[in-house]
Amino acid sequence: MSGRRGADSGGQLATLDAIVFFSAAILVSSVLLSYGLEATKGAEIRPTRDPANMLDVFLRASIGVDITLDLSERVVVRSNEQIGECLAIELRELVGGSPVESFLPLNQQLSNVLLRLCGHSLQHRLVVLDKSSHEVLAIGMDLDRGARNAFASSMELRDDGMDYVVILVITTCVS
């Protein structure tokens, strides 16, 4: 009887060891799996657009359509005007006290151009700050604050002795 009891307790010990081994294997597998999935998730968040390249090209491009603005007098912005120059004129007027509503058609066209360059998988917002980091102009979508991936680039814009910083922010729509 004593021999039988010894064999049983040995069997229980072996089972216990196997359970411990199994638990350790599951733990190691979970760690490996989370590492592998995290590495893959990191690869997914690369932007399809370089914001610096996009901002540079955007500011050099022509506006594309004729736009009429109702300022103190009627102003026609020709289609071949550079976007950077249009932006500089708008900023000068805004600093001079003109309401931003007067530039609604121009801002809408700028937003449309940005949307075309970004594609529908990216959200965009163009912000212009003055020297004291005060927001002078903001064009584009209201960005999702919960967005996981945001990429930005900035450029200096100089007009009539005034320095501005133009910032382009793009975010992926999937948060």
Binding site: A18, F21, F22, A25, A61, G64, V65, N80, Q82
Partner: protein, 156 residues
């Protein structure tokens, strides 16, 4: 006369076998879990590495073609859409692709949208993994507008 010793030994043997089955099951399950997870993770990592390599090749191709386009009318001169259309860069692009299959397309993004031209390899292989890169550049259109072009490359 029954030999109780032999019977006891037999009973122990049978019991021992059935007692070992759960042990075997736990050990095998643990080993299988480890092997499967390792295989899965190594496969994902190698796929990511291949994606990175392909992205690097695509980026190199895009940079090279875009700079060739930018200087198609000479340095410090804005290239024209006509000069970009006339550019024959298929041999140059094929050399940069390191023997991989690719599709290079140049699109007009603004003010009008359309495909200017597209170059592709013979496309013999089935894509297992792909690399992608794109770059925007300005060019003077036929109507005198400064257009935005996009160079896109997909490599596999």
């Amino acid at each position: 006369m029954i030999d109780y010793r032999v019977m006891r030994a037999d009973r122990s043997g049978v019991a021992g076998f059935f007692e070992d089955l759960p042990v075997l099951m736990f050990v095998l399950s643990g080993v299988v879990a480890l092997v499967l997870t390792s295989a899965f993770v190594s496969e994902r990592i190698s796929a990511d590495r291949l994606d990175d390599q392909l992205d690097t090749v695509a980026k190199r191709m895009v940079d090279s073609v875009a700079s060739e386009m930018l200087f198609s009318c000479g340095p410090d001169v804005l290239p024209t859409v006509t000069s970009i259309r006339a550019l024959n860069c298929s041999d140059h692009v094929s050399q940069l692709s390191d023997g991989r299959d690719f599709v290079l397309s140049v699109f007009s993004m603004h003010p009008s949208f359309g495909c200017l031209f597209s170059i592709s390899s013979n496309q013999n292989s089935t894509p297992r993994s792909t690399g992608y890169a794109s770059e925007l550049l300005n060019a003077l259109g036929d109507d005198g507008l400064c257009t935005v072009l996009e160079v896109r490359v997909i490599v596999w």
